[in-house]
């Protein structure tokens, strides 16, 4: 930990005059983490490990890109982890059934993926609709759907595990395990989602509306922004992201159970917040979210690569690093303000 503190104090003055520190905060935290990881175990930067790390962060990363929009518009979605488990379970049931009709073929996999997208968009719409038209707090709506999806997947799996038929899985498996031009497919999807998210947030009216609604909903309403519609769309986007993440998740283990996606919602929210998006809304950074997701995965990875810290304290280390990462940004923001006043 003292390493981290020392590194931080060295990095800050160097970067201060030139680059936007609010943007750099998460990146600095990630760089420090990489240095720590490498010094604890040089294998951290081996090609295989980097590839594992990026592929793993794809799930939380893709979901977190969606969460960035929801949170920027002043909402919250606690249901994403359960939703992912539910969609994964439904995909498996649907593909197993489709395999009987369409045989073990690409069609079966595509049907599964298509259903995943429909379910994701539908589930997102339900969250958004109840929040905006039903006028129920997003926290409550998604707390409710979180419980509903989690128990539904348990019910469909009869308390056990839903498994994809292995012939279908053989066809589907490359979606997680193969690479295109040396880039694993999940990483590729993550990059595309992140780019799309960045463009949507920073280069379109929709992104500006999200920020406007998040900083002051009443003012946004008076500015003729269709607040309800925009907010609903953020939840639909979130649902879509969850379904994309699920499509690349299912081929990894070919199964879904009630233990799938537990606490993903908190990891996604943590990634968003570490990335510099404000929890109270009004300001969103998709790039930061991507880095936030990488930070979270890197912490777990580093802890697995070393045996210096007691296993029982892993949670403590993760908690401390999350708080420090966010504190870094805060410190930077206040440091930038000071000279002006």
């Amino acid at each position: 930990m003292s390493d981290l503190a020392r590194e931080t104090s060295q990095m800050k003055p160097a970067g201060k005059p030139r680059i936007d520190l609010k943007t750099a905060g998460p990146l600095i935290a990630l760089i420090i983490l990489v240095i720590i990881g490498y010094s604890l175990n040089p294998l951290f930067l081996s090609e295989g490990n980097i590839s594992n790390l990026l592929t793993r962060s794809a799930f939380i990363g893709i979901i977190a890109v969606g969460a960035t929009f929801v949170i920027t518009a002043g909402g919250i979605d606690l249901s994403v982890g359960s939703m992912a488990a539910f969609i994964a379970g439904m995909m498996i049931i649907i593909m197993n059934a489709a395999a009987d009709t369409f045989g073990v073929s690409l069609t079966t996999v595509l049907i599964g993926a298509g259903c995943s997208v429909i379910l994701g968009i539908g589930a997102g719409f339900i969250n958004g609709f109840m929040t905006t038209k039903g006028k129920i707090e997003a926290f409550i709506v998604t707390l409710g759907t979180m419980g509903i999806y989690r128990s539904l997947v348990t019910y469909f799996a009869n308390g056990g595990t839903l498994s994809l038929q292995s012939p279908v899985r053989d066809i589907y498996r490359p979606v997680y395990y193969d690479s295109v031009l040396g880039v694993p497919i999940p990483v590729l999807v993550f990059v595309l989602v992140a780019i799309a998210g960045w463009v949507l947030m920073n280069r379109t009216a929709f992104g500006r509306y999200c920020m406007a609604i998040g900083s002051n909903e009443a003012v946004a309403r008076y500015s003729a922004i269709k607040v309800d519609r925009i907010k609903t769309i953020t939840y639909v986007l979130q649902g879509l992201c969850v379904s994309l993440a699920t499509i690349i998740y299912v081929p990894r283990l070919g199964s879904a159970s009630s233990a799938t996606g537990v606490l993903w919602e908190l990891e996604a929210i943590a990634a968003v917040i570490i990335g510099g998006t404000m929890l109270k809304g009004g300001f969103g950074r998709v790039g930061g979210t991507v880095i936030g997701a990488l930070i979270l995965t890197a912490i777990a990875n580093i802890l697995n690569l070393t045996d210096i810290i007691s296993n029982y304290l892993n949670g403590t280390v993760q908690g401390v690093i999350i708080i420090v990462a966010v504190y870094l940004q805060r410190a930077n923001i206040s440091a930038r303000r000071k000279p002006k006043t």
Binding site: N41, N52, G159, G160, R252, L253, S257, S258, A300, N301
Partner: protein
């Protein structure tokens, strides 16, 4: 109008008295278990339901009520309801956690019910009439014994543990005690939380960290499935073997078919709840004493005996 009311009161009265009469005749057994939040608990729920069907069909005077809880405090409320609403004659309980549930079970005992405790014990002795459990120490020891039979001095293994609990510590300590002095190196151990995803990720990291691993102790079959995928991805399935534990049907099927990557499994059966229910019913139907401790074995499941432990219909 008045006549109608009278008739209804009479009808209701008759219903109630017959109901009460029936309740007096039937022996009510409450079964309180954790909800199906992970594979093993899912199996537990299934076996409890199967045992309920079987026991109620064979004994007309037995009424079994199964309740499932999401956490220790939830389970404490369940126990209160079983006593006050159902007025049970016996309780079969698999406590979520030993400490918090000790007092609530004591309360049930105070109501005069016969108490059977399953798997996780209570912190105070003398509350339960019957104790039925799997053998965590034995699970660790048998797993280590198998490792010793296949490995030589200087070989390397890694361990994927469950979640930080007493059960996990018992298994782990017994394993380490047995492996000691054999010359087998335990490279490292990490928690994989009885979860496939964590099993996959922790194993990936072990594989990139240690170029030479000869065997893996995965401690639980859910973790095993994640480990298998990670090993296959790394293309090292010819270099090592994996020992799981619990008795998941997919793993047992693999053992039966002579899988080389996961050649054996060590039993820690979710079916122990059925054993506990049988013993509790025996209290009311048998003419022999049933009080005492029933500790199930943790046998090594090999291709030769795998069929005995295979439940294809169970979710686990």
């Amino acid at each position: 109008m008045k006549l109608k009311t009278l008739a209804m009161t009479l009808a209701l009265g008759t219903l109630l008295t017959t109901g009460a009469a029936l309740a007096q005749e039937k022996i009510k057994i409450g079964v309180s278990i954790p909800a199906a939040t992970h594979g093993w608990a899912g199996g537990l729920n299934w076996h409890a339901q199967e045992a309920e069907k079987r026991l109620e069909a064979t004994h007309s005077n037995i009424d079994i009520i199964i309740v499932t809880a999401d956490g220790p405090s939830d389970q404490a409320s369940d126990l209160e309801d079983l006593v006050s609403v159902q007025q049970i004659d016996a309780l079969v309980v698999l406590p979520f956690e030993s400490g918090p549930l000790t007092d609530p079970v004591k309360q049930v005992k105070a109501s005069g019910a016969f108490i059977t405790v399953v798997d996780r014990g209570l912190t105070e002795p003398g509350i339960e009439d019957v104790y039925v459990a799997g053998n965590n120490t034995e699970l660790g020891r048998i797993s280590a014994e198998y490792m010793k039979s296949r490995l030589q001095s200087g070989d390397n293994i890694v361990i994927l543990r469950g979640i930080p609990t007493v059960i996990d510590t018992e298994r782990f300590d017994a394993f380490m005690a047995e492996i000691e002095g054999s010359g087998i190196n335990v490279l490292d151990d990490e928690f994989a939380n009885w979860n496939r995803d964590d099993g996959f990720e922790v194993m990936q990291d072990f594989l990139s960290r240690f170029p030479d691993i000869d065997a893996v102790w995965a401690q639980d079959d859910d973790i095993t499935l994640g480990v298998v995928e990670a090993v296959k991805q790394a293309g090292r399935d010819k270099d090592l073997f994996i020992v799981g534990g619990a008795g998941m049907k997919d793993i047992i099927k693999g053992v039966m078919e002579g899988d080389e990557l996961v050649p054996v499994d060590v039993l820690y059966p979710p079916a122990m709840i059925a054993t506990a229910m049988d013993v509790t019913v025996a209290k009311f139907t048998s003419n022999g004493p049933v009080q005492g401790r029933y500790v199930l074995g943790a046998p090594l499941i090999t291709p030769e005996n795998a069929e005995d432990f295979y439940y294809p219909d169970s979710p686990f």
